[in-house]
């Protein structure tokens, strides 16, 4: 199966073209944030360098969030449009799980983190089982204190990776030697691993309905919901 894998969830951009679990071509950049300008040229270039035509592609695997709102929209818009317009399969993978794929150790709890600012994080807890990460605590948007309360009941080592800078000191203070901070490289998504992981998953059945996993309402919507707790979440968009 020929697979295109895309992750632009945060600052890094990683794209890979795979033939089953064989990597044909990959680009990973951390030098810029201009995903809008770089994503399509990188995809075009990698398909060409893989000696494929785009008609050969059979599946798109996308890291669909959480992450930077613009970043995950860029990847998901590209991925869902590629899937729809070429009539190929689309697979969605958590952007946090995508980072967890960088850790192969079986005996630690893997805690990928994206900075949500003001001591908030997008995070989840994973452990490796039969060489694949399985969820221990679901991905969520949460503040550091509440997250520490959730994870303190585990006695395995907890390995944090990703945007660890704003959190590692407080987490070290709370968890002591139980905490391991992964090195920088482990915090950079690897689209080849994403593609390989997504190969085994079920494709989405309705490509048109796909949206990124923001895991957080916009402020306007959250405020509105507070004032209108009983309002139906009906469809706000209508074709005219």
């Amino acid at each position: 199966m020929k697979i295109l894998a895309i992750d632009t969830s945060n600052r890094p951009l990683s794209v890979a073209v795979m033939d089953d679990s064989h990597l044909l071509a990959q680009t990973t950049l951390t030098t810029h944030r201009k995903h809008a300008e770089f994503l399509m040229p990188v995809i075009e270039d990698l398909v060409k360098k893989s000696d494929l035509t785009l008609e050969d592609l059979q599946r798109v695997v996308v890291a669909c969030g959480p992450g930077s709102y613009t970043g995950i929209r860029m990847a998901v818009t590209a991925a869902k449009t590629i899937a729809q317009t070429l009539g190929i399969e689309l697979v969605m993978v958590s952007s946090l799980l995508t980072l967890a794929l960088n850790i192969q150790q079986p005996d630690v709890l893997i805690n990928p983190i994206f900075d949500g600012r003001n001591q908030n994080m997008f995070t989840g807890l994973y452990r490796n089982k039969n060489g694949r990460p399985e969820t221990v605590i679901d991905d969520q948007h949460i503040n550091l204190t509440d997250w520490l309360n959730l994870i303190k009941k585990y006695d395995q080592k907890i390995l944090i990776l990703g945007d660890t800078d704003s959190f590692k000191d407080d987490m070290k203070a709370a968890l002591g030697d139980q905490l391991i901070v992964a090195d920088q490289l482990a915090g950079i998504p690897n689209a080849a691993l994403l593609g390989e992981y997504g190969m085994a998953l079920k494709a989405v059945t309705n490509v048109d309905a796909v949206v990124p996993r923001y895991l957080r309402l916009t402020k306007a919507e959250a405020d509105w919901k507070k004032l209108h707790p009983n309002e139906d979440t009906h469809d706000y968009v209508e074709k005219i």
Partner: protein
Amino acid sequence: MARDLVLSFETSCDETSVAVIENGEKILSNIVATQIKSHQRFGGVVPEVASRHHIEQITGCIEDALSEANVSYDDLTSVAVTYGPGLVGALLIGVTAAKVVAWAHHLPLVPVNHLAGHIYGARLVEPIEFPAMALVVSGGHTELVYMPEEGKFEIIGETRDDAAGEAYDKIGRVLGINYPAGKTVDEMAHRGKDTFHFPRAMDHDDNFDFSFSGLKSAFINTVHHADQVHETLNKNDLAASFQQAVIDVLADKTVRALHDYPVKQLILGGGVAANKGLRARLTDELEKFKNTSLELVPLSLCGDNAAMIGAAGEMLYRHGVRGDATLNANPGLEFEWIKVKHEITSV
């Protein structure tokens, strides 16, 4: 003649739209998914919410546009997309989707200025004849654009502060009208009279620029003052007075521009171009210009839509305009400014 078919995208604000346009002038389909209901919750467009809605809608709109036009990707000649001005996150959805479709089906990509789209809405009714002038009035823009020839757009005047549509929404809020307020204010104005005589800002200045924030403030102060002294003002008269001030300035400046730049056509486009008062006034004024015809963009195409982007896109395509895979959204995109001749001719 072979059919030239443009698949066009528009996502600059709160409408997700995809269209198929034949030979730049015939609408085969024009799918518009509007988010107005959603943003009405907040009293105006929330950019992040708009971006989220666009991504929900985009591929469904592509499928609907193709199937309603009864064409396949193989039939298409080019892909056109709005890349600015507008909300950056919203623009990016259309730009990304358009780039994917162009790449996936080996089609040329044509970046289109949203305002050129509003002007080219007129082309879907009648061919544009040059030189032409356009008054583009919407929630985000108030501009006089001179077009000496096809493919050339030159700004001769624009708003210095609020766009006309923005002023409508702001005074609408004071009158208790939910966003977007233009249509309701227009209807109320027709039931009232200009009794308040609000200021006509910059009406006699020696340029073609507009300003609506002073008018907006005068309106709000009048209402607040009445509230303080427990006086009830006639809302229809308030609306009529506001609308008359807006229309006077728009019409006066446009008429003066037509004197300085004689053109074959005056095009009125943009969301506020749906305003009945403005349409009637310009129709009257144009009686005096025997060599200039008035092209009112039809009501159904005044709001944001991809059909108008396809009409402009076909023209730009013929002129060799192309975008590549690096095309980015340009939220502040502008036409070129030209130094207006007015100062010289009015001496």
